[in-house]
């Protein structure tokens, strides 16, 4: 009987092997053109082809020279498969770089939720398996504190490697790629949350009249304040305003599953409730996480609590199931035409275009997140009401990008690979094509007046004109906002977030009140800060947010 089994397994195995072999056909990944340009091509399924001036690739790569022959570069990244977000581009560029460099690229994959743990295990234990790690910006606290990253300023200054620059980044993003003025991250993804709304539904005169009759003011499209957004979401929730099915539809959809990325919703929403905007960052202004004088958590301030209570109200305008949903399920709901709003990352705009999953192409507009009509004044401990709230931008998310491990024995080869994906032509292409999860944020990805991109490139990539114009505008405004939600980049950031995430989830599922959830979070944070060392944490926090005494 075991023989029969073995035969079965062998057959399965052989089939797999055959399919694998069938796909490795001859593609000319790199062509050195006579006019001094170089054409880079990926496997046909990616439809990737760019032509760049030879200087762009740096002086190391040459037609008859493979500078990293025999070297192996291992990159750890989150796993979304060879055609998926963030890991897809690595697969796409692998043969191109291998052809250019003569080296071998290994891609180590791990689920996004285990990435931090896998990385820290490798670094803390000295295994040193990875030359590069595609990190989220919130990993920086731990990486910097332990000296686990190699600064890349020297490589960037050298003409040997593919040429790119931080200058194309808005300051809000540049801050995430650097620490104390030193560059560590190689340009890749830009993350921030914006509001997506159904332009066809919100602009429907019938609904506009209906809304005005019910709420006593004309429906602002898109909503400027969170309070307006709640009214609109409430108005649409439970009505069958989308006719792709006969079921009632929702106002808002959220991804709230614990252990995933639900807490980001709270971060970007609460920014305009809980931050006191000011011209400069000081003890009371433009801070969000801790008091920069003594590390007292601000997370249970009245502003934060009100924001969480608001999020609970907003949750009521969506499907109850979303408490257990991660990104995919929530986005899917919006793409299927089941909710008017979703606020999330750039991926949504791209997914809207994919008609195998979306029924709303062309009606999927984007705008910067609304702001709150009142915010908490940390200095005077009072609420400030305002009719014209200032806008708070965010860089919520990972802004996933490569850093070089201090233990890499091939840092040059590693840098040459990462920077190949960072040159303008590569990065612009990645920003244009939505499937790869590398979302736009840089000047050459925005159209005028925000940047230098050509809208036609996006249309060629399959974007609907209605969607792409508002999308690019929303992101350009978001990253260049006067006030930006500060990013938590201190040692133990994932632990602080872990306990916050659990408490937020408890609040969203009704187990705790907003106040309880955030008080518990604050208490846990104090415990973590004391355990890790208050002085050290305070110092890192001040550096991370650029606080000056």
């Amino acid at each position: 009987m075991s023989v029969r089994m073995a035969a079965g397994a062998a057959a399965l195995f052989a089939t797999t092997a055959l399919c694998g072999v069938a796909f490795a056909q001859g593609v000319e990944y790199v062509t050195w053109n006579d006019d001094g340009t170089v054409t880079l091509r990926a496997d046909p399924e990616y439809k990737f082809e760019i032509t760049v001036p030879r200087e762009r690739l740096g002086t190391l790569f040459a037609p008859d020279y493979k500078p990293f022959e025999g070297e192996t570069v291992t990159v750890l990244t989150l796993d979304s498969g060879p055609m998926g977000g963030i890991s897809g581009p690595l697969h796409m560029f692998r043969p191109i770089w291998e052809e250019l460099s003569g080296g071998t690229l290994e891609i180590a994959l791990t689920p996004i939720t285990d990435l931090y743990a896998k990385m820290m295990l490798d670094l803390n234990q000295g295994t040193g398996l990875y030359d590069a790690i595609i990190v989220g910006a919130f990993f920086y606290g731990d990486l910097v504190a332990n000296g686990y990253m190699i600064p890349i300023d020297d490589y960037m200054a050298s003409d040997e490697y593919p040429q790119w620059s931080y200058d194309v980044m808005p300051d809000s993003l540049r801050n995430l790629y650097t620490w104390g003025g030193v560059g560590y991250g190689v340009l890749n993804d830009a993350d921030g949350q914006v509001l997506y709304y159904r332009s066809d539904v919100l602009n429907d005169p019938e609904h506009q009249a209906g809304f005005e009759a019910e709420y006593g003011y004309p429906m602002p499209v898109p909503p400027r304040t969170w309070q307006q957004l709640l009214d609109i979401a409430t108005y649409f929730n439970g009505k069958n305003w989308d006719h792709h099915d006969d079921e009632p539809d929702s106002g808002m959809v959220l991804h709230l599953k614990v252990g995933e990325q639900g807490h980001y919703h709270f971060q970007s929403l609460s920014a305009s409730f809980a931050m006191t905007p000011g011209p400069e960052l000081d003890r009371y202004h433009n801070v969000y996480w801790f008091d920069p004088e003594d590390m007292t958590p601000l997370i249970n301030s009245p502003g934060h609590v009100a924001a969480l209570e608001f999020l609970q109200q907003l949750h009521a305008t969506g499907p109850a199931a979303q408490v257990g949903w991660s990104l995919g399920e929530a986005w899917d709901y919006f793409l299927r035409g089941k909710s008017v709003f979703v606020f999330s990352w750039g991926d949504v705009g791209a997914l809207c275009q994919d008609e195998s999953r979306s029924v709303i192409r062309g009606n999927c507009a984007a705008a910067v997140l609304p702001s709150s009509e009142r915010y908490w004044d940390h200095e005077n401990k009072t609420w400030i009401e305002t009719d014209e709230p200032g806008f708070v931008g965010n860089t919520t998310g990972g802004s996933w990008h490569g850093i070089i491990s201090a233990f890499s024995d091939a840092p040059e080869a590693t840098y040459s690979f990462l920077s190949l994906m960072a040159i303008e032509e590569s990065s612009a292409w990645l920003g244009t094509y939505g499937w790869n999860g590398v979302d736009p944020g840089y000047s050459y990805q925005f159209v005028p007046p925000y940047g230098t991109a050509d809208l036609q490139a996006y249309l060629d990539a399959g974007w609907h004109e209605n969607d792409i114009t508002t999308y690019l505008e929303a992101y350009a405004q978001n990253y260049n906002a006067p006030t930006i939600l500060t990013y938590l980049r201190i040692q133990g950031a994932p632990e602080y977030w872990d306990i916050m995430d659990k408490n937020l989830s408890a609040a969203m599922s009704g187990e705790k009140t907003a106040q309880e959830a955030l008080d518990d979070t604050a208490a846990a944070w104090e415990e973590i800060t004391d355990r890790l060392g208050r002085e050290q944490q305070l110092e890192a926090y001040q550096t991370a947010i650029g606080y000056k005494h």
Binding site: G20, G81, T127, G328
Partner: protein, 289 residues
Amino acid sequence: MSRRSMEGGMRQSSFATALYSLLALVITLIFFFPLYWAISNSLRRPSETFTVAGLGVPFLDFTPTLDNWLAEIQVKEAYNAFTNSLIVSSVSTLLALLLGLPAAYALARFRFRTIPNKDLTVWFLSQRVLPPVATAVPFFFVFTTLGMQDSLISLILINATFILPFVVVIVRQTFQDLPIELEEAALVDGASHLRAFFRIAVPLAAPAIAASCLIMFAFAWNEYLFALILSLTEASVMPTHIAGGADTRGVQFWFVAVRSLIAMVPPVLLALIAQRYIVRGLTLGAVKG
């Protein structure tokens, strides 16, 4: 299967038989449903994951596609994980067999005085009861110190330890049930204990040994906690590969369904083949199947 007729002294009208059969069928279908759902999911387009009507019957409720399957089997990592799982499961099974068979024989045939046989047996069993998380940190430290992270060898050693009880208890019972006279005759003829063990006991216990192998293989195949802690890339196995179906854009259920089915097929098939021994194996020999 049973030592007596199935009816076991029960008298039952044909109407009752039909009724009970129907009931049993319904229950069986309920238990089968989640597996059916995975099959159905794996044949749907991504947009149909949660929109398919009714019971998601292929051709009836949607047009099935093999795209997900084709995409998955082209991935180098999937291939790698499947191979690794095969290696880890079979080698650890073999290792456990090597250690466990003689132990099973000793417990069945010899009398130990310092520690009574039954206590020794129970001690072996306790490996199965031990919460794996209790040994996770030390294993992790030891293996990383030895530079054996992300290596199949670490996984093999650990899995062999945790599946060892199966071969000990299943085969011990079988050895005990064999007539001792054959071996005694051989001993009288001048054969060594080792020879008697290999030439007489092992061949006679072959079916039970094969069954214990299948069960051990299945358990090693499904092991996740240690694989998660110790494997990174090179030593990625099916369970860690399945868990990798979540990404920045959420869980790709269509791929996950494919991966889950690929992962489940070997252990489930083995279990079907070893049906006869499952009861004894899984009750650690306490109940004879």
